[in-house]
């Protein structure tokens, strides 16, 4: 990442697709660190924050949002060509986001010969993560991302260090914070056991169940890179917490519902009587 010409700071682009802007706001929420970021990097393209919009190539491209239009599917290809390192920020870019709930609805509507009104604007029938379209170098999970994780990743990249972020489950973070387990003590359908850490275990900290906004954790069952044990947790929701199948399905089909293994688990429970 380090540029041979030390006077040239790495060029940053922040690009948006279908999303709520919450992850970009997390960048602006860096507050005083935002000015430091502006000194460390040349912010070449960040329309939400600056009218100075310069063309690529970029050293780092942060991508927010999912692909939901044909035009955006082309736009991400063009961006990939311009970006040395492409990082997705947030659940929309990394997993298709909440709007990927349409991915099931459209299948359903196809079956029943359902049509949206003809005058509607072009939109794909799916919302897909960036990685279904181009190679992604690094994924930052969360809805929204954790701004300190983002800063750490950028600092690592600028310093030529391979970024590493924890991928274990929220449970570990929750225990470290000393929260009372809401799954055990309150019988709430907490997704913490299968959700990636990084949020600070805020939901149990606020007395409620985790709803999986950092996506699936890794390694809980067999090791890094392997999916968490959603099967066992889903069964627990059903048999111990008395959730009916459709409720178990909805639990997994949320902010990160389209990402495997949440998608697979929700599909299983959708089909149960």
């Amino acid at each position: 990442m380090r540029n041979p010409d030390e006077r040239q700071r790495p060029r940053l682009a922040v690009v948006k697709f279908a999303s709520c802007d919450g992850c970009q706001l997390s960048i602006l929420n860096l507050e005083e660190d935002l000015l430091a970021l502006g000194r460390m990097l040349d912010i070449a393209y960040f329309p939400e924050a600056s009218s100075d919009m310069r063309p690529g190539p970029y050293d780092i491209a942060l991508v927010e949002g999912s692909i939901t239009t044909a035009e955006d599917a082309h736009r991400i290809l063009a961006l990939r060509e311009q970006a040395k390192v492409l990082i997705t920020i947030g659940a929309c870019a990394t997993a298709g986001g909440i709007q990927s709930l349409r991915n099931w609805a459209d299948v359903e509507s196809f079956k029943r010969a359902v049509y949206p009104s003809p005058e509607y604007i072009q939109s794909l029938s799916t919302s897909t993560p960036i990685s279904e379209h181009v190679h992604v170098d690094f994924e930052l999970w969360g809805c929204p991302i954790d701004k300190d994780q983002l800063l750490r990743v950028i600092i690592d990249l600028v310093a030529d260090v391979q970024p590493r972020l924890p991928a274990d489950s929220v449970c570990l973070e929750c225990k470290r914070r000393g929260n009372v387990c809401v799954l055990v003590a309150k019988g709430l359908p907490c997704l913490g056991p299968v959700t990636r850490t990084g949020c600070g275990a805020i939901c149990p900290g606020m007395g409620r169940d985790c709803y999986g906004c950092f996506g699936p954790s890794e390694g809980a069952r067999k090791g890094p890179g392997l999916p968490p044990n959603t099967t066992s947790l889903a069964r627990h929701f059903h048999s111990e917490l008395q959730l009916i199948p459709i409720e178990v399905m909805r639990r997994f089909r949320g902010i990160n519902g389209y990402v495997s293994p949440f998608r697979a688990e929700s599909d299983i429970w959708e089909k149960k009587p």
Partner: protein
């Protein structure tokens, strides 16, 4: 441009910068006449209203928060109030106060973002707050710290500032301890002084002489500056209950935009801080009133560029209100009241940072959502923005394209349009054809 006068000239802004979301502008001019103004919102639709159907009411606050990262509390507040109306529940006391406090946090955060990072660079001649910081470090640092004070309130009450997690139908999943709220006080006291400085600073900006005849629309509560409750009032004299919203406000689709245009009996109107301030000035707090008097700022403000003054006043108001709410806070016995689910239809309107935000829900006996309608502030202001551009355009005609385009962008930014918000809603009308 003597030779060009008869020709058609197009001024285009491919990407409106320093707004939330993605939009473009196309203005067509023939000679001295503005022919067409199209604010094209190309942010893709996200179909929230469609996929909220079939979800359980308890999931609604988490889902609607995702319509907007800048004003998630607004969506949560309109949603829980509409749902509580269905279940025959009314929040009172400390829970009601905490909801006001949370909303104060969002106003402070969102307004500080707009004032310092999005709009002020226009007045000082910079591309961004980051480039502005090179010459005005103290100013930008003050703005960022103010914004952070708003975020601190949201983080304490909601767990985090973007998409807070504690809001639920009936109350909160957790309420703060007294000492946790008191720990915010020092920073809020600093922020209150910074807000006074902010009003003084923006009051001295040079404003273009521009004051169209607006119909302002806002909530109005008999006793307080409005957040979550009140009637809908307009400077035209309209005064209706929230449940009558859809009888007066109608959304129209235009071919070039992914956002609907909402009109009040066929006409454009103006929502947001300027409208709120003008219609609720009698409920301002003493400091806010004093600063206005000191600066000889007379209400109503009629210049849209002075929306930055209204926002700054509301930052100050929200800080004063926050300090009062913290002062009188006694933790409630229960963080949330138990809810008895029943079927029905409920409507609520709250004051998002950018103006009134209307929600209607239809729920069945199991608490499952059957139908939703959401009308965000930006769709309400969209037609008004276009009309302002038509009115403002003649004074930009002599400028080269680039500067004319910048002038147009400045007009758009006055409204702080939240474009992501405006495109969540395309109602997926389902037509079933018999086989």
């Amino acid at each position: 441009m003597p030779e060009e006068t008869a020709q058609t000239r197009t001024i285009a802004v491919d990407m409106v910068a320093r707004v939330e979301g993605e939009g473009a502008l196309r203005v067509t001019v023939k000679g001295e006449t503005v022919q067409d103004v199209e604010l094209r919102i190309f942010e893709p639709p996200r179909f929230f209203e469609a996929f909220l159907r079939g979800r359980h009411y308890e999931e609604v606050p988490d889902i609607v928060a995702r319509i907007c990262g800048i004003c998630p509390v607004a969506y949560q507040m309109s949603a829980v109030h509409a749902l509580e109306q269905i279940f025959g529940f009314r929040v009172e006391g400390a829970i009601r106060d905490l909801r006001r406090l949370l909303y104060c946090g969002e106003w402070i955060e969102s307004h500080a973002l707009h004032v310092y990072l999005l709009q002020a660079p226009d007045f000082l001649g910079y591309d961004s707050a980051i480039s502005m910081a090179k010459d005005h470090a103290t100013l930008v640092t003050r703005g960022l710290r103010l914004k952070k004070a708003g975020n601190a309130i949201m983080t304490l009450l909601g767990g985090r500032s973007v998409h807070p997690v504690s809001v639920k139908v009936g109350g909160f999943s957790r309420v703060p301890l007294r000492r946790e709220l008191e720990a915010l006080k020092d920073e809020l006291l600093w922020a209150r002084d910074a807000a006074v400085e902010t009003v003084r600073w923006v009051a001295d900006f040079e404003y273009p002489d521009f004051a169209p005849d607006y119909n302002y629309v806002a909530l109005r509560h008999p006793d307080e500056y409005p957040f979550n409750e009140g009637q809908i009032v307009a400077s035209s004299g309209l005064q209706i209950s929230v449940s009558e919203f859809e009888q007066h406000f109608i959304e129209h689709q235009v071919a070039y935009s992914n956002a609907l245009h909402c009109k009040l009996r066929g006409s454009s109107y103006f929502v947001g801080p300027l409208a709120r301030l003008n219609l609720n000035q009698d409920h301002l707090t003493p400091w806010a009133r004093q600063v206005l008097a000191d600066r000889r700022i007379e209400l109503p403000l009629r210049n849209p560029f002075q929306g930055i003054i209204a926002r700054s006043i509301e930052i100050l108001y929200a800080l004063e209100e926050s300090l009062q709410l913290i002062e009188r806070y006694e933790p409630p016995p229960l963080s949330a009241a138990p809810i008895t689910v029943r079927s029905g239809i409920g409507m609520a309107c709250t004051e998002a940072p950018r103006g009134i935000l209307y929600h209607r829900y239809e729920v069945d006996g199991d608490g499952v959502i059957r139908d939703v309608k959401i009308v965000p502030p930006t769709s309400q202001n969209q037609s008004r923005i276009e009309q302002d551009l038509r009115l403002f355009m003649p004074r930009l005609l002599r400028l080269p394209d680039k500067e004319a385009a910048l002038g147009c962008e400045r007009v758009i930014r006055c409204y702080d349009p939240c474009i992501s918000c405006a495109t969540h809603f395309l109602n997926l009308e389902i037509r079933r054809e018999s086989a």
